[in-house]
């Protein structure tokens, strides 16, 4: 089975601050929008892209699929609404939790790799699938720490969840790079263990080293090593640049997009 985004090449995450850059990419065939940013409707610049035939993927960040409570029905129906109004070919969310015990963490947190936790995620993903009419892709996150007492390797945990839910993989190569670096592992061999045949699309982002860790910031340039990892992924899946602040000039973003296209063997989208 081929990805719902197959052949869509290189994309960029749609953010209001860089809407002009996205609108100005003649070869753009897919983008992604943070689902939680669409609470007051779809911005006209994003609708214009959708009308042009650009696939728009609603990307949830606050569903907390790893949380032990079932997903909030309001959040699930918002995702379903986003998919419908954008005519999205799929939605995506994270293998993570963002709240527990009545407290919001404010960011994606890693889950323990246990069978009990896998069961919770499978239940939550199936709940989402009941309400959303398009496929879902799940993204493993970057984290500076892991839980004690993991029962499964990352690859086993991920494969089990994807097998039991029928979900696609959203592979963030920058997250893989960050995790491998922070754990003292080789990025390429950690990526090669993952179920790469399940990739719907990939994320690419920049980061920086600080305080002895590599932080996946989305506000720094994409490192050479992350581009090299892209070259190692078979089948040239679609790849999307995520930038979330400290926005550089349009030319800088365009040259990062060109570098991603080059690394993946995708057509250039900037001219």
């Amino acid at each position: 089975m081929s990805s719902p985004l197959a052949g869509r090449g290189t994309g960029i995450g749609w953010r209001p601050e860089i809407a002009g850059v996205a609108a100005d990419l003649p070869g753009l065939r897919f983008t992604e929008v943070i689902a939680e940013s669409l609470h007051s409707g779809v911005p006209p610049a994003l609708s214009a892209l959708a009308e042009r035939g650009v696939a728009v993927v609603p990307h949830g960040v606050k569903l907390s699929l790893g949380g032990t409570d079932e997903p909030d029905p309001g959040r699930v129906s918002h995702l379903a609404w986003c998919a419908e109004v954008l005519g999205a070919p799929l939605i995506s969310e994270h293998i993570a939790f963002v709240r527990a015990g009545g407290l919001e963490a404010g960011h994606l947190l890693p889950v323990p790799r246990t069978r009990e936790q896998a069961d919770v995620i499978v239940r939550n993903v199936l709940r989402v699938k009941e309400s959303v009419s398009v496929p879902i892709a799940l993204e493993p996150i970057a984290a500076l720490f892991s839980w004690p007492g993991d029962e499964l390797t990352e690859a086993e945990f991920l494969t089990d969840i994807l097998d039991r839910t029928g979900a696609w993989l959203l592979l963030d190569v920058a997250n893989c790079y960050a995790n491998a670096l922070n754990r003292g592992e080789d990025p390429l061999s950690s990526v090669e263990r993952l179920p790469l045949e399940r990739i719907a699309y990939m994320h690419v982002a920049g980061g920086r080293s600080a305080d002895g860790y590599y932080h996946d910031t989305h506000t720094d340039p994409v490192p050479r090593e992350v581009l090299d990892l892209l070259k190692a992924i078979p089948g040239a899946p679609p790849a999307l640049l995520e930038r979330d602040g400290a926005y550089p000039a349009a030319e800088v973003l365009k040259s990062e997009l060109d570098a991603i296209s080059h690394a993946c063997g995708h057509p250039v989208i900037t001219s």
Partner: protein, 146 residues
């Protein structure tokens, strides 16, 4: 402990400064705590830009020092509580707070609610006073804070 309790203990440690649960690597959790705090401070600065600017480039430090033991309540309330604890030092930041106070009723413990009745708030700007007048949900500023 159940999975729910273990997740809750981890979030408490990360956002309220509670003790790090056993078995976790303390340096990595401490680094995560700082990263979460930087993100939280930056998000509050988006909602309270004049307040953040009034700290002359040291906003993240000031906010982080204050918020370290406080559970996040969302950027609107986090910034509001901070501003009430640290009365803003610039006229622009005082105006930002006065506009919010005129538009919403906030008791400091539950979510702010849009005011239904008109109010007037005075803002001290250098040696003069400006007034924020809210009626029907719209604010007008009389006088200048520049």
């Amino acid at each position: 402990m159940t999975l729910a309790e273990r997740q809750a203990a981890l979030v408490r440690a990360l956002v309220t400064g509670a003790e790090i649960p056993p078995g976790f690597a303390a340096p990595a959790l401490t680094a995560t705590r700082s990263a979460l705090m930087r993100k939280r401070g930056a998000e509050v600065a988006q909602v309270w830009p004049r307040l953040a600017e009034s700290h002359n480039g040291r906003w993240l430090e000031a906010f982080g020092a204050w918020a370290g033991q406080r559970a996040p309540l969302g950027s609107l309330r986090d910034g509001w509580d901070f501003a009430r604890d640290h009365p803003p030092q610039t006229a622009q930041a005082r105006l930002e707070l006065a506009l919010r106070e005129a538009t919403f009723a906030y008791d400091g413990t539950t979510a702010p609610r849009r005011r239904k009745l008109p109010v007037v708030r005075l803002v001290r700007a250098h040696r003069r006073l400006a007034a924020v007048i809210q009626a029907g949900g719209r604010c007008r500023v009389i006088g200048s804070v520049f």
